[in-house]
């Protein structure tokens, strides 16, 4: 490997790590959105029962 390729690899590792982190956060947000919708539905059902 050339010196330039090592530099690209080092910066690439940081970029990939950041992308993975953002993907994890995005997946978590999607789960939270789904759970919020479920809870809202549950609250609506409870309200209708009352």
């Amino acid at each position: 490997m050339s010196q330039g390729e090592y530099v690209a690899a080092a910066y690439g590792v940081v970029f990939v790590a950041l992308l993975v982190y953002v993907a994890i956060i995005a997946a978590k947000l999607a789960r939270l959105e789904r759970e919020t919708a479920e809870l809202a539905e549950l609250a609506r059902t409870r309200h209708a029962d009352v």
Binding site: Q3, Y6, A10, V13, A17, Y21, K28, T36, L42, A43
Partner: protein
Amino acid sequence: MSTSSPSSSTSKSAVPALAALAAALVGIAIAFAFYVAPEDADQGISQRIFYFHVPIALTAYACFAWGAVKGLLLLWRKDERYDLESYVAIHQGTIFGSLTLLTGSIWAKASWGHWWLWSENQLVLFLVLFLFYSAYFMLRFSIEEGPRRANISAVYALFGVVLIPVSFLAIRLAENIIHPTVFTRDGPQMSGVMFLTFCIAWLAMSVLAYALYRLELLGKRLDSNLRELRELLT
């Protein structure tokens, strides 16, 4: 018990601005590292790894220290929110710590011809620090959630902070070193433009870490509030 803090609404509005600032600063830091800073006469192009490797390492130290501060606040004020803040800071520190080891290893291969040298105190001490904080998660998740877990985690986070100055000063304490010592008592051993590039990269990494810290904290608090709401509704 809710883990939301009174400032959580302020946090929500600050995260997008922090993320935008971090993205801009990282872009500026990359531009400076590749187009403004001169090429190092000794190491050539591989020295450009320094502009991200060292700020990432310093950010990892700062995150671990921040986690210890939050741990101390938990033990002192007995406020549950500091437990989550300490955990998130240490999680960020571990991410930045693993990036320090990865970028450092690549730089070592490019400059010294070795991925890792066990004879280098600086490398080994940073690895010890990283492994110590990695074990924090094993300890934390082996204890049932509650005040006991929060207190034990806080004490562990405080113990780890002792390793930070040892790891940081290792390159000055060791005599048989290959790892470069850039910051000496005579100041930074680099040109003004190189130092400016380093400072911009350090600022960029610090803001990025803080933005990620706030984002993760926001997600965890939202998760906790939803769990509480689910318990109330079911």
